[in-house]
Amino acid sequence: MKAFLAIARREIHERRLVLAAAAAASAIPMAIPLLRGFRGSMAVDARSGTAMLVSFAFAFGLAAGLGVSILAPSIANRRVGFDFARPVSGLAIWGGRVAACCLLAVVSASIVWIPSLIAGAHLRIGDLFIDTELPRVWPLLLLALILAVFAACHAASVALRSGSALLAVDAGLALVVGLGFWVAFSRLPAFLAPEPRMRAAWGFALVAGLGLLLAGLASVARGRTDIRAAHRSLSLVFWSVAVAAVVGVTIYSNWVRAATPEDLGRQGFRVTPASSGTWVKVEGIARGARASFLYDTATGRFERVLVTDWYGPAISREGRRAAWVEARTGGGPFEILALNLDQPQARARRTRLFLEGYPSIFLLSADGERLATVERGVLSIHDLTSGRTLVSARIAEDRDEIRGLFVDKDRFRVFCQRAPGGGKTRVEILELDAASRRLRQRGELEAEGDLFLTTNRVGDRVIAVRYRDRQARLLDGATGTLLATLVEGGSDTSLWPGFLSDGRIVISESSSQGPRLSIFGRGGARERVIALPTGRFISLGGEVASGQIVVAVRDVARSSIYLVGIDDGRVRKLSDDLYPAALLRGDPSELNASPSPGSEATKLFLRSRELIRLDPVTGARRVVLGGVRR
């Protein structure tokens, strides 16, 4: 330690004129506002900015200059022998100089600042950083940067002065390491893994910086007075560390990419079951990155899908095929992939279909053969098997809200909702036919205020809920003709409509008068009202069996599920703290259709960070994902 301090002190003493130069440079930020004629806050800003610029230039210029000159020339001309002829370790010789450089750089930068600070300049290092987390550690960050610049310049100086053929090896290794890092880093796309990406980049930078410092130490401790030996030691240590860092980043990125659905459990996840079959889409944060999986609740088989944002995977109503969009960057183009879920050995397949931007609709036909997309107002029907686009047509402007569904395998019906003004909503009902390659308008409807549309599976009937007065009306799905007015609730009523498998209609109403279910016949005639236990929100789960529906009644902190007999009005509590994973969905444009009656989806429920299968009839339950398996 004494030797380290003695060397540091000597180096500072030798270069003390730098401090005088810093004092002279401190006049620059003082003079700038005067020269430019600035006054008041403009003068303060100009002084602050100039002081920051000059101090940074001083600190980093000094680090670079000292890195180049403080040791490498002494090794090359063997003057460093003066230190090595004394009882001083290589660590002290290197460390003393590093410490001297840091101290000179920091003190010089401070000296540049002092007169400006006295004159009222403000230190706003945080303005330099986009990430608001960084400024908290900016002194450490700057110090690390100064060290890295110093060590890098020393390394370059030693390598160039050695004039050895090892320089060519260095260049080759730089290429390999850079390429290796980029390959590993690219496996963490910014749109999926921003945090792991940052961790990988910072980790690599930190390890590489440490590698430079260690390599500098090795060049001194092992090279001593032999510049070629110094270069050899430097290269060996630095490239070893750099390669290790690349391997580390590769392992880390592979580890992030190798996340399984089980990894989602730590931070919670979202589940969307297929309408039929045992597959679910599960998504959340796994190993720090956004992750989406297709997961078979029966076998545990899974497929990770690199979907961007919320699009995909969509699962066909029959549960036999899934499709999704995948991109190498966040902005497209997006490639469409498909997976046959009913084939145990099948892997994800690229379909040769691309989308230029985000689709606003991405839906599979019931059998999964066809895919409908709406992208930038253009509706297209694609054949997934052949990878061909069958038909496309412009149907909407960017601001229009579009919902739609496959009426049959070739026909896709669209409800194109626009706000023409005056507080009105106009919905055009369009239909694109892949067989005839024609787009035609089937009907339209108009309403005051915003509308929420719900269709049955085949789209021939529509429930339109008007938000303004909580009115629910039954319409003809093709023409928009009014068939019946179902509910006219008060302003405090919350409505949730759904179609049952036998064509009847169920609407949950939650208001100050208490929650209840209203059951309507196919034509819209009210058949029954079933009172539900007290709770603020009601969600309609799937039909466990014909005429039996799961209903979730929630308060702020708690959700209980009940089995409701549509025909007899019986309400039986199934469990506390559970919520249906599959809801009787109103929006036809949702990626996955409402659960088929009696399907696996109707038996899946969510608890905190757990997916649970509960048979509402027998009461048997098991944890499917997350939590503790039983």
Partner: protein, 314 residues
């Protein structure tokens, strides 16, 4: 090999690429002795010294200071070694006073007073930056610093190089005084053979990286003689050229008056027999200064009728 020797070099080889600076060099320096390593420029002296001081890793073999490998134990060894390099390598902006202060912090036993008095004796201004001192003064500063912690071993790499007569004299005096006072072991390389002839107790000569002489100075000087004689044909002597065989001539020159030879294996009895050879006339033998021995051993053979040496060199 003497295990108590403070300096030992065993099978030391230094190679730069394909070129050898030292080849399989082995020797030791006894405590309290003065070992002068001689060699022409490029013979490998500096490489050997750097290895000895732990500043360079030998390609093969090892150099030991106080019985320990100097590459691995350099820091500890340097507490007991004083070094005067060939080129004074101290930082140019620092003064002798700064150096003494710096050394005080890193040596466990540093005698600032002795250093100051030595510098005063040399007449070196202690407040002048090293870069502004004369070459002689720089050498004197380096010697003062090398002796400041009273090391049992002193390593001098051509310390008189570029010094004028006065500075050389001062340096010799200081070293002699150090030897007399404390029995310091001295290992030096030099081109100033006459200067160190009176001090050195043992001599090594490096030639093209090989140690071809490693011997006590007295026995070396006893072995080497110049023999001059006239060579005549007589009735009984019809050929000549092998009369010097017993002396192992290292250099033979044919002059107008006869033969001028340097031999490396001189013996009085053999010389008497030599003088009795028919046709050998006016034979006389004279001892050689170290410089001439060095030239005979390490120098390139010159002259119109130089003959190759044969027999023992080292």
């Amino acid at each position: 090999m003497n295990d108590s020797a403070p300096i030992r070099v065993e099978g030391l080889t230094v190679r730069y690429g394909r070129a050898f600076a030292c080849r399989d060099v082995t020797f030791s320096v006894a405590p309290g002795s003065v070992y002068a390593l001689l060699g022409r420029n490029g013979a490998g002296k500096s490489s050997l010294i750097r290895c000895l001081l732990g500043q360079q890793k030998p390609t093969e073999g090892q150099a030991l200071l106080f019985g320990e490998d100097s590459w691995t134990t350099r820091r500890r060894a340097m507490e007991r070694v004083g070094v005067v390099p060939e080129e004074p390598d101290a930082p140019l902006t620092m003064t002798a006073r700064d150096f003494s202060e710096f050394s005080r912090r890193i040596y466990p036993r540093w005698d600032s007073v002795a250093v100051a008095s030595r510098l005063e004796r040399f007449g070196v201004p202690v407040g002048v930056p090293f870069g502004r001192l004369s070459k002689g003064q720089r050498g004197e500063v380096m010697l003062s610093l090398a002796l400041g912690h009273s090391p049992p071993v002193l390593v001098l790499d051509d310390p008189t190089l570029g010094l004028d007569v006065v500075a050389r004299h001062a340096l010799f005096e200081e070293i002699v005084g150090e030897l007399a006072d404390r029995g310091t072991t001295v290992f030096l390389t030099t081109h100033d053979l006459s200067g160190f002839e009176g001090i050195a107790t043992r001599v090594g000569i490096l030639k093209e990286g090989r140690l071809i002489v490693d011997e006590e100075l007295e026995t070396l000087k006893a072995r080497f003689r110049r023999i001059r004689y006239a060579n005549r044909m007589t009735e009984t002597r019809t050929a000549f050229g092998n009369e010097l065989d017993a002396f192992e001539a290292v250099r033979v020159k044919v002059r107008g008056w006869g033969i001028d030879a340097v031999v490396s294996n001189f013996e009085d009895a053999a010389f008497e027999s030599f003088r009795a050879i028919d046709g050998v006339e006016d034979a006389e033998a004279e001892s050689l200064p170290l410089e001439e021995i060095f030239i005979a051993v390490a120098g390139e053979e010159q002259g119109a009728s130089a003959v190759g040496s044969k027999g023992r060199i080292a």
